[in-house]
């Protein structure tokens, strides 16, 4: 979290909205532990990571959607997903993220 705070500050100072995605749970093999976090500015800029690079692209589109609607939600990536979120982790694990606007 510490490593992404400077970017978050910079974006917020420029008046941009920011979404925060945090790993809240992992099942099976996963490279990042709960608490790993990634921030996405409404401009599409990104800081941090929540996996070994497998799901970051999908997290950005989720985060931008959440910034647009303001609806925070729990998102799951991995083999056990619905087809709608069929973004696999190459390690075969499942990762649960809580993504929300940084409005707190």
């Amino acid at each position: 979290m510490k490593e992404i705070m400077d970017d978050i500050d910079r974006w917020r100072r420029s008046g941009h909205k920011v979404a925060l995605a945090r790993v809240v749970d992992i099942e099976g093999s996963g490279p990042r532990l709960p608490g790993a976090s990634m921030a996405v500015a409404e401009t599409g800029e990104v800081a941090g990571s929540v996996s070994g690079g497998c799901v970051e692209g999908a997290v950005v589109s989720e985060a931008l959607d959440i910034l647009a609607t303001g609806e925070r939600r729990l998102v799951t990536f991995g083999y056990s997903d619905d087809e709608a979120f069929a973004v696999g982790l190459t390690c075969g694990g499942t990762i649960h993220l809580f993504i929300e606007p940084l409005d707190w």
């Binding site: 979290m1 510490k2 500050d9 749970d25 093999s29 709960p34 608490g35 729990l74 809580f98």
Partner: protein, 262 residues
Amino acid sequence: MADSIYELWREAVNDHRPVALATVIEGENLGAKLIVGDGIDSQGTLGDVDLDRVVLRDTIGELAGGRSGIRHYGPHGEARETAVSIFIESFAPPPHMLIFGAVDFTGALVKIAKVMGYRVTVCDAREVFATKRRFPNADDVVVDWPHRHLEKVGDRLGQRDAVCVLTHDHKFDVPAIQAALATDVGYLGAMGSRRTCEERLERLAQAGADMEQVTARLHAPIGLDLGGRTPEETAIAICAEVIAARTGRVSSSLSDTTGSIH
């Protein structure tokens, strides 16, 4: 206006102060938050006074253990119910590595330990060697006898912390190891050849060290058997042993084993 919860969180993390944040991730009041930490009385609410009370208690417990994860409750904090899921994220300060001995290997060990996220202190009684200029990556460079330094900071060492004795000099090693054994430090290792290590054991016994504790806790010669030679390779062997000691694994190549990776 009071600081926002994010501001409190940000300031604590930047100041290396322990802090924990509880967030509703499923159930009523999605996204509601409670924060607590060193120097922060609990602030925020999850939307129910009883739920706040129970979650605050659990959050303080998770923070003490440095754990992050999900816990489930009823709407008013009832146990064994699942209406509400709370993600508790703990930020604990980085673990501490104390390196005794400002020798050739020390600089490399400081570098690798910093990469691993340790706060690193180098301590040596000889002020010509223990200088910030020689160890620019160290968080602190202390001129003192190792055992005297441990008497000052030892009660702050815990399971996540490490003490590495690289002095190669019984005069410093023996009291340093004895002082380290009196702490709760999770990893204790001492450098030296097989012969040095044997001699050191004899001297520890003569000095009245608890030899059962020595056998159980002292890693000497320090490091995993990687066969490396340079200071950097040695530093990696030491840090690899620190990891293995924490996880309780016997180190071998993953390609030679079949168990889970994490």
